[in-house]
Symmetry: C2
Subunit: 636 residues, 2 copies
Amino acid sequence: MEHLRDDHSKRNIYIDNQPRLKAIEAYEEKLKQSKKQEEVSVYQSLGRITAQAVFANISSPHYHSAAMDGIAVLAEKTYGANERSPVILKESVDFCYINTGNPVADGYDAVIMIEDVIPEGEGLIKLLVPAHPWQHVRTVGEDIVKGEMIIPSGHKIRAIDIGALLSGGVVVINVLCPVKVGIIPTGNELTRDIETLEKGQIIDSNAWMFQGLVTEAGGLPTVYEPVEDNMKQLEEVICKAINENDFVIVNAGSSAGSKDYTVDIIRSLGEVIVHGIAMKPGKPTILGIIDNKGIIGIPGYPVSAYFSFRNFVEPFIRKLSGSPNDDEKTKAVLSKRIVSSLKHEELVRVTLGKVNGQLIATALNRGAGNTTSLVRADGVLTVPIHVEGIEAEENVEVQLLKPLEIIEKRAVFIGSHDIIIDILSDMMPISSSHVGSFGGLMAKRKGECHIAPIHLMDEATGDYNDAFVKKYFEDGTMSIISGVKRLQGIMVKKGNPKQIKGFADLSRDDVIFVNRQRGSGTRQLLDYELKKQKIDPKEVNGYDWEVNTHMGVAVAVDSNAVDVGLGIYAAADNMGLDFIPVGYEAYEFLVSNDDLNDDRIKKFLEIITSDIFKSSVLSLGGYQLDDIGTIRKIEK
Amino acid sequence: MEHLRDDHSKRNIYIDNQPRLKAIEAYEEKLKQSKKQEEVSVYQSLGRITAQAVFANISSPHYHSAAMDGIAVLAEKTYGANERSPVILKESVDFCYINTGNPVADGYDAVIMIEDVIPEGEGLIKLLVPAHPWQHVRTVGEDIVKGEMIIPSGHKIRAIDIGALLSGGVVVINVLCPVKVGIIPTGNELTRDIETLEKGQIIDSNAWMFQGLVTEAGGLPTVYEPVEDNMKQLEEVICKAINENDFVIVNAGSSAGSKDYTVDIIRSLGEVIVHGIAMKPGKPTILGIIDNKGIIGIPGYPVSAYFSFRNFVEPFIRKLSGSPNDDEKTKAVLSKRIVSSLKHEELVRVTLGKVNGQLIATALNRGAGNTTSLVRADGVLTVPIHVEGIEAEENVEVQLLKPLEIIEKRAVFIGSHDIIIDILSDMMPISSSHVGSFGGLMAKRKGECHIAPIHLMDEATGDYNDAFVKKYFEDGTMSIISGVKRLQGIMVKKGNPKQIKGFADLSRDDVIFVNRQRGSGTRQLLDYELKKQKIDPKEVNGYDWEVNTHMGVAVAVDSNAVDVGLGIYAAADNMGLDFIPVGYEAYEFLVSNDDLNDDRIKKFLEIITSDIFKSSVLSLGGYQLDDIGTIRKIEK
């Protein structure tokens, strides 16, 4: 362990706290690269960005052509034609037959529709109406005039542009080259061999996220083999990557730890412009330059890595690739207060839901390691530096990560968690936040969700939910949609090594428990049972350690973090745990009467009463669905 | 010509006039195909659509890991530590050093930050603060719990999803197969050899537009070699394409003309569900089925082809490929009245501009052959069947073809046309409509544009523009930004075969003229000169034939449609015509004083006074730029 202790003594490098925009400005000033261009066939140009404006090589039509099936004439010869004195014309002398698209030969200047041509036999025809010059003729350049600009520079080629370019006789165009970005994963702990994963190994997922992000931004990614924490090796790969690309990402090793070599290597090969940004997540970012090419050290936690990329790498790629940033912004109202540090700008992932005509933003888990929150996020909200936080119900601006159209169609669930919500979310568009049953009640009161899933037991009667709705809502305004009866119980490790039999065992010294968060129905059930057994919560080891979902409880037990937890059968079963049943409870859905005719609620009712949903839920085990989908109005 | 006449006698096939939605419904009812899926590596899955929900194979973290650099301890052993009675721990017995990300070994349940560890020598350390269980530990499943859903079905994989999937131990997923679409171009006139283009030949541009449209919609296109108008050959290629694809497009030959074989072939090999839609453009569309695969006959005009594809082929591709339609809609106000037929639904291409906070829609050229209008269109407005049209200033809904963000940033020009507008549009985002100087004045009065380019001569004084602004606007509200002095003159064919010397020649019987549209300054100049020369416009052959741009005049002369036209030097020069100068005129930019500080106007001023803009304009010839960019307030 001598080695590790030595390492720690080296941790004395200063990390900066530069405001984000100032850092970008300083970097852009130093890093001067210019756009590169190449020729490409129009046939292969979909999605490419034009380097120059493109002008038509030929006019379209490139000859005077018939716009109708009929005859070509010289208009002059038809002047004066009417019912009383028709004009008679002779084929090959005065007219010729012509189909749509055929060239109008020299000597003719108009087309008469075949419907208006009366055959007289022997090559003669009769006209009752005169033609005017150039009628029913598509004249040269009617669509595109030679020399005219078809598309400007900096334009992303669409399918319809390809049609117009070809019509204008253009087959080759100059487009911008995508920026080449080298991605170097570093760290002894990284592995790509997911099958044989060992403790201490981390799956190399960031490199492939970057590969996708570079592609999405219009760049051309190359992912290198992971490099071990070895200064010499890393330096070699950085040199190679700088040589082969326009831009290089090193991930991770961008902090100031004992194995964080990146900053020293950049400093020795080039220049470090900024090390450390006043931004969270993403603070330990390095902005460097080697051989007039950008090199950015990006921190290892996936969410930090993501924000560091979006803020520092992506704008560079977009600028040089000419690929516009099409992220949209939207206004929303914040549901719950966000507290933030004065020292950092903070980028907060949020979910969005449209309820009662208003877009409501709710902050997701802010942990830098939480990739699922990144997947679930609908947008990102920025709390500026020097701001302590944002109060609930304030108006905020959110940068969208998903199309607003999709967000607005979703039914918004806020309340208690159950695995059936996951099943539901695969069958209809929903957004769900797990804040416990009480949190759901409160969100529903504030009009922040369509549906609040709840399971709250009235200690007086042992009945579920209705009493709480009567207490917190105006009489006659709410309904409960019956959901599932689900089996709650005590989860223990396979084989029950600690011989736990019931709640009485939770106060044992050798037993460690994991709790659910305050406001959850499961926690309420625990407190009810502890009271019945006259156990003081203080006697329960781990009473204060809270997780937010049933699966969270199950995994804590399974991973030896604790010995026991309380939760639903399906979660215990999924994790292969033993389960001591406590009883069935009613997990139900609180809605406003006003919303009962909303399309989203109707869709929800349709899904939960469908055979496919029911059989999916039943296959999990531990559920009863006898009256699922029944609506009862809550009245005193 | 006997052959052609015979052909015409065969034109007696009935074409339907089915409402669009009814046609789609009838087609969908008959055409039952199901989604196909395939396995794909997560590494190659960017942009693919999940066929099923994807669940985590492993938890992440998959072991309890240190969230900080420091020491791992059993929390219990640190209880009671404080300044007065520190706890002393021994390395390897009571604690071990640990780095961020390292596994927390069995027997430990907390991490203490290295900053809080006081070394005492000989493997001993001192603590002044107790740890609580699981502090600074990322416990198993903190990010992703094994068995948890990572992404739902029907989800388009983004870069961040790839990161989360790999973190959840998922390396292979099931995705939907893109729909294979075969594209068959038909017609004797089609050619791909643009270099040797002859009269009567049409560039095969639609096939490649379809190739792009299929790709954009998430399908997999195959373009076949063009087929001649031969029933046997076409039938063979259709059979091959039906065999090799999920869906086939035949373009063109979908009407009821003598060479329109498609409908007969589909009828003989399968079933024609609809032939003829009450929609313009796109009426002669065939919806057919062969071997339970879709086959659609699409008309030949590019704009008809586009709308037929978007309405009938694209929804099918999106449905089976699971690729959502992300076209957005917006509300706008119509600038000019649109007249439409009661018999058809009409799809009208529009440009959009944001002026005075309002989005204004203006219809573009509605010709079915006009591919440039398709390229320029910002959106599509639908005039329903049984509706005669839409009045100016009515609210309309527009389906967007370009991002609203880009549209809203543009400066809107309505008025007279000049080639310098094209140069400008390559240097800053603008939208421009060519309605002549008077049209520009009127648009500016109605607040529909930011800038009205005008060149209107006061016949009394010979001066340009100011008098008209004084007449039509409130005093002191408007400014004119000086633009260019441009050389107007008479364009004639190279060598001047008709020996035209001046306006007097326009009344000659053997001379045909092409005019500009009413309200254009060039037309006003013509009328002024004709009056001076005492020529009655009725004496001028072609006075009634109007085109909208200088290039339109030049191409009419160049293509032998006419002998002479009036327009600017640069257009004549571009087309290689001879030019008889008439005089310089002031082409200037009318703006509201209120807009002078608008960012778009400022950008405009910056560009037109830049050296690169000036040198681009001067290189065209026929321009003087002495006072370009000077602002003069128009006051009485």
